[in-house]
């Protein structure tokens, strides 16, 4: 296993009447992308802000690169890059100047900086927009600039706090590809999101958080096993399907059957090629359907299983 880059133990952060982070303990390992997945208000950003010493916390220990992290830990900060949820750039500066300003807080040499800025702009696909002001950029391009400002100094540890909120699919893919490249280049990434697809697509390991507590952690595949669902088959029914429900329930490995608004959803607890049985049943009973498809369980199913609510509630 790789070296620990971050060690958090027993982290507690309380606001007046709210325990926003409730005894969080976890580690982040070198060169991995760790996903922090949870609904809005679950404590993801608060945890990141505590780790970065922007927020005071009530209890717990935080170590980064094997050293205690504090507001004056400038040696540690030199190796950290942060991309906040809100776009943090100056409207008055051009794309190039923005990246240069923030990179300049870490790198003194102008020549090195020039090279780094070029590389950061290429990574996020903004090399043609150097002289643009932020207000001239689309939402997606602005998010990419936000990322370039946070990673231009080539940090070893990068925090990305929901960097793809309100971003178009093209920019989102560009951002996710860029993050993978950063990891491949040797950086460790902590990525918070409430988009389960992103977490699945991007992260080596995922921590699911709710109400300030870790409710599960592991790889995407290991987490999905917690959902107790192996396969979910959905049928868009055009005929009378109610009579089929008792017969479907008798099939092997069927956990649950729900029929609502013309959609029949069958959850299987075992196996992954059950769609043939369902098709046979519909045909033999002469019940018509428009569409039938099979899905593997998602992290949302895991969250639903563990908390009883949807991830996006």
């Amino acid at each position: 296993m790789n070296k620990k880059v971050i060690e958090v133990s027993g982290l507690v952060k309380e606001y007046k009447n709210l325990r926003a982070v409730d005894g969080l303990s976890f580690e982040v390992y070198e060169k991995e992308i760790l996903g922090f997945l949870g609904p809005n208000g679950s404590g993801k950003s608060t945890t990141i802000n505590c780790i970065l010493s922007l927020l005071k916390y009530n209890e717990g220990d935080i170590k980064i690169f094997d050293r205690k992290m504090g507001p004056d830990s400038y040696e540690i900060k030199k190796n950290i890059g942060v991309i906040f949820q809100d776009v943090a750039v100056f409207d008055e500066l051009t794309v190039y100047e923005n990246v240069d300003y923030f990179c300049g807080l870490y790198i003194r040499s102008k020549n090195t900086r020039k090279e780094y800025i070029q590389s950061a702009l290429e990574l996020v696909g903004l090399e043609d927009y150097k002289k643009f002001r932020p207000k001239q950029l689309s939402g997606g391009l602005l998010r990419r600039l936000n990322i370039a400002c946070g990673i231009a100094h080539k940090p070893k540890l990068i925090f990305l706090d929901e960097p793809t909120v309100a971003v178009d699919p093209q920019s989102r893919n560009n951002i996710l590809d860029g993050i993978k490249k950063l990891r491949d280049g040797g950086a460790t990434v902590v990525y918070t999101t409430h988009y389960m697809e992103e977490a699945e697509q991007l992260c080596d390991r995922i921590i699911i958080i709710d109400k300030g507590r870790i409710i599960a952690q592991g790889t995407s595949d290991s987490l999905k096993k917690l959902a107790k669902i192996e396969e979910k088959i959905t049928v868009e029914v055009s005929g009378q399907a109610e009579k089929l429900i008792p017969k479907i329930k008798e099939l092997n490995n069927v956990n649950d059957v729900v029929f609502e608004n013309g959609l029949l959803v069958v959850s299987y607890g075992g196996g992954s090629d059950n769609i043939g049985d369902i098709i046979d049943l519909f045909r033999s009973n002469n019940v018509k359907y428009n569409k039938i498809y099979s899905e593997r369980p998602t992290l949302n199913d895991v969250f639903l299983e563990l908390t009883g609510k949807e991830l996006r509630d």
Binding site: V82, A88, Y101, F102
Partner: protein
């Protein structure tokens, strides 16, 4: 790092349209408006001496206070001449009043003086006011005279020239009264009062620059502040680089303000222009420090802070007489403490003193007051300036 912050802060300030408007364009626009609004008023209000008559009598001859005062106020060689006086008898005075050749006449009976006018207007009011003022000087003269005579008697001097004592005291008081008027703002031109307030306002607007710059470095204020806070640079170092750039921009605004008012509008700041500029430089420092205090102590957004800062500045301008010099006099008389802590009043007070050329002590007092104000503002902001970790964001 200092230069890096300084350079980019300059770029940000110069390119920010709202900052350029408030710190540079707005004062210049105000200067143009003041010039258009007040210069004509002033020209139309050039004071013409008022024609009055004094009924000659023994009682008038004995009333030294009135005699000396009226002589002073009708001195044709003085630019402070109030009256053109005709010394005559009662019949002639009535005839002149009837023919509207005079505004009114004074009649002396014993120690009493009666003022006769046949209408009400500004000149009639001035005549009555001056008459009352001279009467009050008379009371003062009497008191001081009694004291001086007592002193002479106590020292064993029995050969006392009472008339000479009262004449000297009267002259002293009249001169002193005139001096008191000189150092007040009553005789100052409207336009100069407005320009001085404008300079003070421009100085205080430097607070907007510093407030914005402090916000950019504070994690609890904006996203850019958060990004700066996680960088490996000490916050206070970053802020100092930015504040110096803010001060440079402010100096440029002040310079342009002076150049514009002197060469375009034609304002004459008198012989003490260097001291006027010095006062503005120190005043800008006070403005800058106030912006730092609002930036660090007020937990609101940029717009709310700008509103607060502009409101404080405008309130300061109002209390120091920008919207009517009477307000400054009222505050000085009734709540002097308010203007002692009002940086706008400190600046305008120093500028008024410079206008009268001889009040350098007062100017230095105001400069020191402004420096103390700056130190106090920075002191109360210090904790917020150094702070890097917060209870909430």
């Amino acid at each position: 790092m200092f230069i890096h912050n300084f350079k980019y802060s300059l770029k940000i300030l110069f390119r920010s349209k709202s900052l350029v408007f408030w710190t540079l364009a707005f004062p210049l626009i105000m200067a143009v408006l003041f010039n258009a609004a007040f210069s004509n008023i002033e020209n139309s209000e050039n004071f013409e001496p008022i024609d009055i008559a004094v009924v000659k009598s023994d009682d008038f001859e004995k009333n030294i206070i009135f005699k000396e005062s009226l002589k002073f106020l009708s001195d044709k060689s003085s630019d402070k001449r109030f009256f053109d006086i005709e010394y005559t008898n009662l019949e002639k005075a009535e005839e002149l009043l009837f023919d509207e050749k005079i505004t009114g006449y004074l009649v002396f009976e014993g120690e009493d003086v009666s003022v006769t006018v046949n209408s009400s207007g500004i000149n009639e009011t001035i005549l009555r006011y001056v008459s009352d003022e001279i009467k009050s000087i008379g009371g003062l003269t009497e008191n001081i005279g009694k004291e001086r005579i007592s002193e002479l008697i106590m020292s064993g001097n029995t050969d006392i020239d009472y008339e000479r004592i009262f004449t000297n005291i009267s002259k002293d008081i009249i001169n002193e009264k005139q001096n008191i008027k000189d150092i007040s703002t009553e005789n100052m031109s409207y336009v100069m009062i407005e320009y001085y307030s404008l300079i003070a306002m421009t100085c205080m607007y430097s607070g907007i620059l510093s407030m914005v710059l402090v916000n950019f470095k504070s994690a609890n204020m904006c996203a850019v502040g958060k990004r700066s806070a996680v960088s490996p640079v000490k916050k206070i170092g970053m802020i100092m680089g930015s504040l110096v750039s803010g001060y440079v921009v402010q100096m440029l605004c002040i310079l342009l303000m002076f150049l514009f008012t002197i060469f375009v509008i034609g304002v004459d700041y008198g012989e003490n222009l260097p001291m006027t500029v010095l006062l503005s430089i120190v005043g800008s420092l006070a403005g800058l420090s106030m912006g730092v205090a609002v930036g660090t102590l007020v937990k609101k957004g940029d717009n709310a802070k700008t509103t607060i800062l502009i409101s404080i500045t405008m309130a300061g301008c109002f209390l120091s007489g920008m919207m009517g010099i009477t307000m400054k006099n009222i505050i000085d008389k009734n709540v002097p403490f308010l203007n002692m802590i009002n940086p706008v009043a400190m600046i305008t007070d120093g500028l008024y003193a410079l206008y009268y050329n001889e009040q350098f002590n007062r100017v230095w007092f105001d400069i020191i007051s402004l420096l103390i104000f700056t130190v106090v503002m920075m002191f109360i902001s210090w904790r917020g300036l150094r702070r890097q970790t917060y209870d909430s964001l």
